[in-house]
Amino acid sequence: MNGDKRRFTPELVLRILLLILFAYFFLGFMLVPCLNTLTSIFNEKTDGVRDPLKVIRFFMAGSMPRFVWNSLKLAICLVITVNVVGISLVLLTEYFDIKGAKILRMGYMTTMIYSGVALVTGYMFLYAGDGMITTLLKNAFPNFNPNWFSGFNAVLFTMTFACTSNHMLFLRNAIRGIDYNTVEAARNMGANPFKVLWKVVLPTLIPTLFSLTVMTFITGLCAMSAPTLLGYDSINPEIVRLAGSTTADESFPQARAALLSIILALFTIVLLTVLSAYERKGHYLSVSKTKAKLQKQKINNPVANVIAHIYAYILFVIYMTPVVMIIVFSFQNYTAIKARRLDLHDWTLINFFGTADYTYLNDRGREKTVVGAISGVFSNEKTLGGIKLSFILSAVAAALACIIVIVACNYIFKKKGKKMSAVVEYALLFPWLLPTILICYSYRTFFNSDAVWYVGNQNLYFGQNVKLLIILAYTVVKLPFSLRMIKASFYAIDEELEDAARNLGSSGLRTFLQVKLPIILPSVLAVFALNFNALFTEYDMSATFQSPNGITYAMVIQGMLADASRGANMNALGRRCASTVFIMIVSGLILYLVYGVGSRDLGERLDAKKRWRDRFDRLTGKRKKALKA
């Protein structure tokens, strides 16, 4: 187009510059570090000669396959338990008529506001050897094994209930999308509700269930916080351990860690390939033009009905107990927390704000005081430091991911169908194929050297530089998700809008800023918030970096486990509860902003504004009247 030729020369230069920058980041911070990890496996030497199979031989001969097998075992078991629980949750709240479904749903959705370390420590608070519920059970059944909550059982138990968030999001949407007329048609032809469920409803959910199964499997394989905290020898914790180890301690730990992460990557790639091939087939699309809203099915058999209700509420209790206990105990004194016994007369905010001294009687009967041994989340230097660091790193990375993706999407949509745009898109999706730990591990090993010329021969793992490295890792890891979400919002931009703006005289940049950006902004803000939410409490990546200059919030919380046993840090447990409460508030707020406020369009916002103004006028009007009277 001639207009392009005349005006867009500076834009063309900008575009080329951006492409070069993009290539720099893709090659320098995705491809090269990961390839370095891959090749490091084959670079070990035997008697000074390169022996490409040495690590693999070592791997097969030693205890290494155990870690792979353990991870696989966990993944397979999780697929079963998470699907059983997840499907139950959705059916109980969306399909069957269960009394109190709204409250049940709130309980089942609590995993969306706390996860990872915050959740696992919460479960430990209840179920560990000295945990409340274990103590209760031990008192009730003297033969009960107080250490039941460790290793595989504990990980499976915790993750079964922790990993149902995706079911509550996607399966719930899928079941709500079912055309109720198909259910009515089946009933009309004589099928009972369970037959309808089995023959009509479930088959339409299969694509969603398949995706969820693959996602759960990958989650199980790549599990990090639960196995680390609960002591289960799976792949990820082992990689982290090996990454921190040196050749002085054991044989080529780095190469073994690399091998493990490559194995993980292979599994992920295969699974995702299967998934995307399956998704591309696009099964079971609803053919209805006019969908009827799903109506809850009453369970007519009274026995079945009672059983369903009991089941629903047992699940509710399992989901809610940790949440309630954590909230309640976050307002308790360290003595009450230590004894796991509620002191109804003594509530405190010390776990959140302020510091206090700890006084005790020593062996000689003298009073001793440890100054500042008790401190709240926002007064404890270490905790506050973790919060601040996580806040900054997450915010910067979340924003960076959004900006990169917006610019890339603008390019992809401008050059739709061209080879270069496909290359850009696949480059951004690349990190999706790799387990997070592979990326972080690769960064840690590759940039822990001053020989990388394209970062100015700086050691990025050294000292404060590690923060930059964490930001880079966070950004890279969040690119695929951001791309999928933001790209979808670009589809909502009518191409004629761009034409209209140009016809009215608007430049390319102005059109982007004033017409396109406002349209995608709600989605972008949502993606930013969700990215931030995930990164703020992120543990897996920062744990892989293991740097004293990169101790994130989740690592601080994990550290509180160790603190709790020392006298110098009396209320570490209480602070842990308070931390989790803080995380719940932050996440809850973000989810509310994203799904509650953010999804309103301009019309709804104007309406809301008007309502507020009317309310205000009425109030002030009343006040004026009152003043007059």
């Binding site: 004629e496 209209a500 301009l602 019309g603």
Partner: protein, 341 residues
Amino acid sequence: MIKLNDIVVKFGDFTALHDINVHVKEGEFFTFLGPSGCGKTTTLRTITGFIEPVSGSVFVKGRDITHVPIEDRNIGIVFQSYALFPTMTVYDNIAFGLKVKKVKKAEIDKRVREIARKVDLSDEQLQKAVSQLSGGQQQRVAIARALVTNPAIICMDEPLSNLDAKLRVQLRNELKKMQKDFGITTIYVTHDQEEALTLSDRIAVFNKGFIEQIGTPNEVYNFSKTEFVCNFIGDINRLGDGVLRELVKAGANVDLKKHNYIRLERLHVNQTPAEGEVVLKGTVESREYYGLYIKYYITLDGQTIKVIEKNDGVNIYEPGQAVDVLINPRDIMAYDAKEEA
């Protein structure tokens, strides 16, 4: 006013427009009509500058604008989807073009309110979000937005196609009235022949990247230049050999080698023949009752032909009934066989 000289547009190997020549007069309501994919929107987009022709030139008021950038052409557009900016209020949508042109704020306000009044948008509606307006109101916003910058020409790309049938007819009338009031040269793209016939001063009928005919509604309807035009516009009967031979037998001047057509309303049932009319015997096969008129399917010399009779309430014929069908050979439009579309 607007002159398209030998416009050729190609998309890769595909030639979308072959030597298009159009001359639109000042103040005229000019319609591009044709089936989808015929090149009418491409022609419109060539005029507005979204597409650059491979060869040929576009003149507006004698000035060659073929290579003038889109925003400097001073041509307003109303898009098929209206393309109203969803994140802006109605007011901001209309003001956008003026803001881009850096018009003073007071002036913008004056002009926005003025144009809003002309297209019948209230002050309250101006403060609303676009999504809060009905389809008809949205269309008025789109027109106001296109007109507020005082363009020399306004182009409309199927602006009624997103609306339901009743609203479409209502807005059609409003559109025509507005165009008369503003007196602005209008280019209108549609695939709806009824819209084209009722609205236009002149129509260009497009087919496969060529213009088949340019003429007034009456010309394209009653004196279709090509077989494609006569088939595309209105309903028509192609007369079979049987009927044609009967006509020849009755002394009519009909060329059997050509494709011969006659409009439905030119045939009459059971009436006294006027001068030159030929009477043929037929049988009513079925009928469709439309209220205003009745459409009969009549078997006539081995073919079924359609006839429309005004519903005067006097004569309604039943299926199976033998009837006289009157044809005036002068009403027949004949085309060379090779022209078959």
